[in-house]
């Protein structure tokens, strides 16, 4: 492919020229730049744009795109609303009575109130409304499947099929506050109580912040080198670019009273018994550390990888161009992780990306928006197929599937896909010994997060119930904190 087809971003005399094929779009630089990917989507999908000769190179290779392309490919999925856009969007809210969007929000954010606060020119007050219910409201504004939650419930979805842009408005408000470095909450007088939190992901951070705010001293342990959990390691780069996850943690920590111990894993650096002995209460929010196996022959071949590792590598990469990607990539799974891996494989320049899920589209955990996003990026989605064998001589070359019916019975019809890279995204599992009683494969908790062991609470992905969403983890961490507080001082 000749490089003249590649987009060039050249500021020329107060304008930004975006050139691809024979078209040239000239934008004044002071205007918000429409993301390249929106323009280039079809070209990328067709595989004719933004690609170097490396696109056809088989195997796993870094730098399949021209160097300049990565920044636009991995830019913000939803560019932030500017002031005017936010006011226009806010004006559409009807300020419903007992609003359905609040009911639909796992953290019960008073959405009509915060939107009214934006509309009346007080975005910081709006942010406080949001953050008082959901301390990770900034991240949730970026990653919540709003089309399944608040925005699905919005009465304007019923009226016009166009809900109020709740997620984007939430981001407008929380960004406005956080970019000033303001922390709107004050820590209560010390209670003298100490609480251990295991896991600095959404559940743990939410729990820790609420406990600290109520005056308790909190020590948060996390096995990874950086806090944030899935916010830092498990979410697509284009959903939370520019170091937002760490900035949010830093902002959250301003409450005071929280000590963070990274590189501290349960079962290695400390045990639940240690924590029980040293603290007045323990909250477990370590998520799911293990990855499910395919159960297919040849699964151990080179090039068969965990999608969570791929996503994490991309997030942690100094330069995404250095992350190698296959020419033919197959992702197995139907959740957000599968979509995040498949879309990013495509964004890195994989020629063919196929996402294969064993059930129908309607059973996929990934939202319709996410499925459509993947399709728009050129990811092919294959349903009703299970992997049976990974072929190749040392390294994967092909992966074989069998089509299955609605009851998961094999049909005898097989599908072989060329693959030099396979990402497994078929769910994660709880790891650890000497845990409180389980329910299914997760820690059993009641509605306040109490486990079978007195003095131990749990929440987030490692606990039973919930939808494995960031926002539900935040809610569970917060609610457990309130119950811990009642138990300690009530």
């Amino acid at each position: 492919m000749e490089s003249r087809n590649f987009a060039r971003l050249r500021p020329i005399g107060g304008q930004l020229r975006m050139k691809f094929h024979s078209f040239e779009i000239i934008l004044p630089v002071d205007k918000k730049i429409i993301p390249w990917e929106r323009y280039s989507q079809q070209q990328v999908t067709a595989g004719v744009c933004s690609m170097s000769q490396k696109v056809f190179e088989p195997g796993i290779a870094a730098g399949r795109l021209e160097a300049e392309a990565y920044a636009v490919q991995f830019s913000d999925l939803h560019p932030p609303l500017d002031q005017h856009e936010a006011l226009v969007a806010a004006d559409r809210c009807y300020f419903c009575y007992d609003a359905p969007c609040i009911t639909a929000c796992p953290t019960d954010i008073d959405i009509p109130l915060f939107i009214r606060q934006i509309a009346t020119g007080t975005p910081d007050a709006a942010a406080k409304t949001i953050l008082s219910q959901n301390i990770l409201g900034g991240m949730c504004a970026r990653v919540c499947p709003t089309e399944q939650l608040c925005e699905q419930a919005c009465v304007r979805e019923a009226a016009e099929g166009k809900p109020v842009k709740i997620g984007e408005l939430q981001r407008f408000a929380t960004d406005h506050l956080q970019e000033q470095g303001k922390h709107p909450f004050e820590r209560a007088d010390s209670t003298g109580k100490r609480v251990a939190v295991v896991g600095a992901g959404p559940a743990g951070l939410s729990c820790a912040h609420r406990l600290a705010m109520l005056g308790h001293d909190v020590v948060v342990h996390d096995a990874r080198p950086k806090p944030g959990g899935l916010n830092e390691y498990g979410i697509a780069t284009y959903k939370t670019p520019n170091g937002f996850a760490q900035a949010e943690v830093d902002w959250l920590m301003q409450i005071g009273g929280i000590t963070l111990q990274t590189g501290s894993a349960l079962g290695a650096q400390m045990t639940i018994e240690d924590l029980k002995a040293d603290f007045d209460a323990v909250f477990l929010g370590m998520g799911l550390g293990g990855v499910n196996a395919l159960g297919a022959e040849g699964e151990d071949k080179t090039g068969v990888l965990d999608a969570v590792d791929f996503i994490s590598d991309l997030r942690q990469a100094e330069d995404v161009a250095q992350v190698p990607i296959g020419r033919d990539v197959v992702v197995i799974g139907g959740g957000m992780t599968a979509i995040d891996a498949a879309v990013q494989a495509k964004l890195l320049g994989a020629l063919n990306v196929t996402l294969v899920y064993r059930r129908g589209r309607d059973r996929m955990n990934a939202s319709v928006f996410e499925q459509d996003l993947a399709s728009s990026k050129g990811v092919r989605i294959v349903n009703h197929a299970v992997p049976v064998a990974v072929h190749g001589n040392g390294a994967v070359r092909e992966i074989e599937f069998e089509y299955v019916d609605g009851e998961m019975n094999g049909t005898g019809q097989m599908l072989r896909l060329a693959a030099d890279q396979v990402f497994k995204a078929i769910g994660q599992t709880l790891q650890g010994d000497a845990l409180p009683a389980l329910e299914g494969r997760k820690i059993k908790v009641d509605s306040t997060g109490r486990t079978s062991v007195d003095g131990i609470w749990a929440g987030g992905d490692c606990a039973s119930g919930g939808d494995d969403l960031t926002v539900t983890a935040v809610a569970e961490g917060r609610d457990a904190a309130m119950d811990i507080h009642m138990a300690l001082v009530g």
């Binding site: 006011l87 004006d91 559409r92 007992d98 609003a99 359905p100």
Partner: protein, 433 residues
Amino acid sequence: MADLRSEFVGIKSPNPFWLASAPPTDKEYNVRRAFEAGWGGVVWKTLGIDPAVVNVNGPRYGAIYGADRRLLGLNNIELITDRPLAVNLQEIKSVKRDYPDRAMVVSLMVPCEEEPWKYILPLVEETGADGVELNFGCPHGMSERGMGAAVGQVPEYIEMVTRWVKASTRMPVIVKLTPNIADIRKPAEAAMRGGADAVSLINTINSITSVDLDLFAPEPTIDGKGAHGGYCGPAVKPIALNMVAEIARDPELSHMPISGIGGVTTWRDAAEFMALGAGNVQVCTAVMTYGFKIVQEMISGLSEYLDEKAMTSVDQLVRRAVPNVTDWNQLNLNYVAKAKINEDLCISCGRCYAACEDTSHQAIAMSEDRVFSVIDDECVACNLCVNVCPVEDCITMEAMTPGTVDPRTGKVVEQEYANWTTHPNNPAAAAAE
């Protein structure tokens, strides 16, 4: 297709849409563009005696907004034309010569003495203008100098000046009324006594649009201070409609032609003014917001409406609603309605519930799954739910059939008309028997 041609106090125009005396009609360039766009006539921005007035060199306007910064109300502290009289007269003559079919009325404001009127009227006549409008309404600046609203608020002055003007010109005289009075009929009667051919209303309403909460000063703010201005735009339309109707339904004034002004933005607004008695309408804020082109929508809209109503000319619309404007004590108290919510149209926002439950009669029920329904036992048909509902026609007011029982009062709905004057609760009614 309906004939939109209009004749107002003998002044002909191709349609009843005139531009009001205001910035859009301050000079030849604008007026030519307006006529090219299709406006039927203009009232040239108010002329005065030289030396010309001066305007502030800071902001002249302030605004209030609806959703998406839709301009709903505009306030101004601009004065009459600040250009020399001779320049305006020459331009009026030039435009009228080139657009003989359009109405050219000239607004005037001179000191409240006879000589200045005797001076200026022949000059205007010489331009070939079709008529004059006496600006007795400007509520700021000029009124401090004893002109504008300072005249319009004193019926005796209105009568006196109108009489001077009629004595000094052959042109039709329209008296523009200020709404900053208690009873609009008093200045209208004064104009009539003075011999006015018509009244036009309303001029702008005294207003402060907003306060700068950093400067603690009214807006628009001139170097830290603000003065009240004149309010106009869609927000003032209801006030203007009422004042027009008050004149149109007054037996003494009912023959007085009215040029309707105040928030006219669409053909529908114009039709409403005309139905309430206006022979034509004057527009300002709408063109200051959207430009002259809106007249195309006004022409097509009014034309289509007249066709739909089988009216062949605008005259057939004028005063059509006047007989239905009455006093409260003439309203039928035996008429009973109930709100009805169309569940298929309802989007479950619950605004009707909040309004009724919090502020009215607790007459709307809300189910667990957000189905809203009217409790007829409590509904007084106040219409608030209709007004706050974001979906048009989702909630309607349904009249009860005579003979049925109103579950709220337990009384049979009577067929007969009966108003307050005969109601048993009315002490005056009892005394009369």
